[in-house]
């Protein structure tokens, strides 16, 4: 019996939804429609595969420069996942950003980064001044 021949492309993904790490396969036809998803053990895996295949997105976490703060770098994050193929573009834009302390966690650093509709916010409070250890409490920014 001759093997069934598939006339499309098969892409492989490693599922990240749980530690099982199923090896997923997404097969599409000539027109790019998903024909079949294989290799998953649960529904989450199946939807992960479909998402990864059609619209892979990633959260971006990086740092921007900050002046006058306790540290020279401020960690920032995107408020939602951005298209995977725009991650480096987002990061490159952020590399040029410099902010002034004090900063409060959640402050919007760049709104609608690279036109993705996603904001980049501060991941922490960044108080002014270069030293800690002066008070019996963490010098948090006034809220």
């Amino acid at each position: 019996m001759t093997p069934i021949e598939h006339e499309g492309t098969i892409t492989h993904y490693l599922c990240i939804e749980c530690p099982l790490g199923c090896r997923l396969e997404v097969e599409e036809d000539f027109d790019g429609n998903i024909v079949e998803v294989r290799g998953h053990s649960c529904k989450k895996g199946e939807s992960f595969a479909k998402r990864e295949h059609t619209d892979p997105r990633r959260m971006v976490t990086t740092t921007v420069m900050v002046r006058g703060g306790r540290w020279p770098r401020l960690p920032v994050r995107t408020t939602a996942a951005v298209p995977k193929d725009r991650v480096m573009e987002v990061v490159l834009l952020l590399r040029s950003v410099s902010v002034e302390s004090p900063i409060t966690m959640g402050d919007v650093i760049v709104a609608d980064i690279a036109g993705t509709g996603v904001d980049v916010v501060s991941s922490r409070d960044m108080p002014s001044g270069s030293e800690g250890g002066r008070e019996l409490s963490v010098a948090a920014v006034e809220r």
Binding site: L92, S98, E100, V110
Partner: protein, 482 residues
């Protein structure tokens, strides 16, 4: 015009420098690395040999015992650590016991006191963690341990305080013999001196050739050493030697001055005199042989490893003396027991220089003693608290594994540290079990601040050993926060 230029700032060069600054002379020292001791000396095992292991009929044998005795005073005067913890040379069978008895003879003939054979019961009582297969041991109470780099720094600081002109980052590239002096180019600068002392370690042959001499001939013999976690401190209290063979002293178990246990060194001929690589076979050999002496030792306790290259002459002995070039003195092939013999080598060299025509007149204002640097880790809590009331930086921890405070780091800078290794060897910051994981960024920040440079200019040990670099420059865009 200098009276003497010493080429090489290892422990020998530093010892000679200090000795020469007792006299009314204009002395300079040229060191090729960024700090003294950064050649072979920093990799030295730090053992001050008891004097009984060294063969008679050699220059080594003539100088070792006198050198040993001088270390006690030196440590006192210059404030570095020295512990006369003694050594034990062990035997696993009767043939080895015979060898030990020969060594005992050798030692007594040299006038070394206290050499004693211990039977198995005494060995087990005194050093309970040694192998149960050991049948006897030779105890040499005169042996000790120092930190060799501490000794280098202390010696050179004393010399500098007494007027030594120290040049680092100054490799000697040219020497020309003129009728009554030498012209020398070191680190791109030109110097003139009546006499030259070649104490350049593994580079002594290269230096000698600059004046057309065919001696010394230097070969390299590399030694790898492995440092163990402090939790093993006290596993032995004396330096443990296996029974020596004709070719080697063997792999030792060394309780260093700071109580970290060190095992090694290997002995391997190397072509490249700067080959300081450690190796898998080296590590296997060292741990296998160390375990044979002290079964409780395991690779899992290793926290660091390093290697150094010994300078070896064809007859394996020191080569110290005047040469066919008047005023040029060789001090070469100073391998073990070189550290031990250093003080007496220095005295011998001064004598040789006098015979070469150097005018020696003792200074009345020679400062032989140096204040001991503070090591917070060695102080009691009360002493530390006292210090901290006068200088709060004594209460600011930089290296937590070795308890090194900011005050000590700053002091090390004042005393000449310009690199991370320079700080490490003066203060021990970065030598502990986390190997700088915690303190590196703090030390670098302090160095950067004190030298007025950005962090990216701080190096591990000068030259091209940068540690971090600036991020790629991107045109800044200042974001206005609303």
């Amino acid at each position: 015009m200098k009276d003497v230029i010493i080429i090489g700032g290892g422990v020998i060069g530093c010892a000679i420098a200090r000795e020469l600054t007792r006299y009314d002379l204009d002395v300079a020292l040229m060191e090729s690395e960024i700090e003294v001791g950064f050649g072979t000396s920093k990799s030295n095992s730090g053992i001050i040999h008891g004097g009984h292991h060294t063969e008679p009929g050699t220059l080594k044998g003539e100088l070792v015992w006198a050198g040993n005795q001088r270390w006690v005073e030196l440590a006192e005067e210059l404030g570095f650590g020295f512990r006369r913890n003694g050594d034990l040379t062990v035997a696993f069978d009767d043939a080895e016991v015979e060898t030990l008895e020969q060594i005992a003879h050798q030692g007594r003939d040299r006038g070394i006191p206290g050499i004693e054979m211990w039977d198995v019961d005494r060995v087990r009582r005194e050093e309970p963690n040694l192998s149960r297969d050991i049948v006897a041991a030779l105890h040499g109470p005169t042996a000790g341990v120092v930190n060799p780099y501490e000794a280098c720094f202390a010696l050179i600081e004393c010399a500098v305080a007494n007027g030594l002109d120290l040049h680092v980052n100054a490799p000697v590239t040219f020497i020309s013999k003129c009728p009554d002096h030498f012209e020398i180019i070191a680190g791109g600068d030109r110097f003139r001196s009546r006499m030259v002392v070649n104490a350049a370690g593994v580079h002594a042959e290269v230096i000698a050739r600059l004046v057309g001499l065919t001696e010394p001939v230097i070969r390299g013999r590399k030694g790898e050493e492995y440092l163990l976690d402090k939790r093993l401190a006290g596993i032995v209290s004396r330096t443990i030697f296996p029974c020596p063979t004709p070719t080697s002293k063997g792999i030792l178990v060394i309780p260093t001055f700071d109580e970290t246990i060190m095992v090694g060194p290997t002995a391997e001929a190397v072509e490249d005199l700067e080959d300081v690589r450690t190796s898998a076979t080296g590590s296997e050999t060292v741990f296998a042989l160390a375990r044979r002496l002290v079964p409780g030792i395991s690779e899992r306790d290793c926290i660091a490893e390093f290697a150094g290259v010994r300078a070896v002459t064809p007859n394996n002995d020191f080569l110290i003396g005047p040469t066919d070039v008047p005023g040029f003195v060789n001090v070469a092939g100073i391998q073990s027991p070189g550290l031990t013999a250093a003080p007496s080598i220095a005295e011998l060299v001064v004598q040789i220089l006098a015979e070469e025509g150097l005018n020696l007149s003792l200074r009345s204002d020679f400062r032989g003693s140096m204040p001991r640097p503070v090591h917070a880790a060695l102080l009691s809590i009360e002493e530390l608290a006292e210090l901290a009331t006068k200088d709060p930086q004594y209460a600011h921890v930089v290296c937590r594994c070795e308890l090194v405070t900011e005050a000590e780091i700053r002091d090390a800078f004042v005393r000449g540290a310009r690199t991370l290794d320079g700080l490490k060897f003066r203060t021990r910051a970065g030598m502990g079990r986390c190997q700088g994981g915690f303190c590196t960024s703090r030390s670098m920040n302090l160095l950067a601040e004190m030298s007025g440079q950005p962090m990216t200019e701080v190096t591990k040990r000068g030259s091209g050993s940068w540690i971090v670099r600036e991020p790629e420059h991107v045109d800044g865009q200042v974001v206005e926060m609303t």
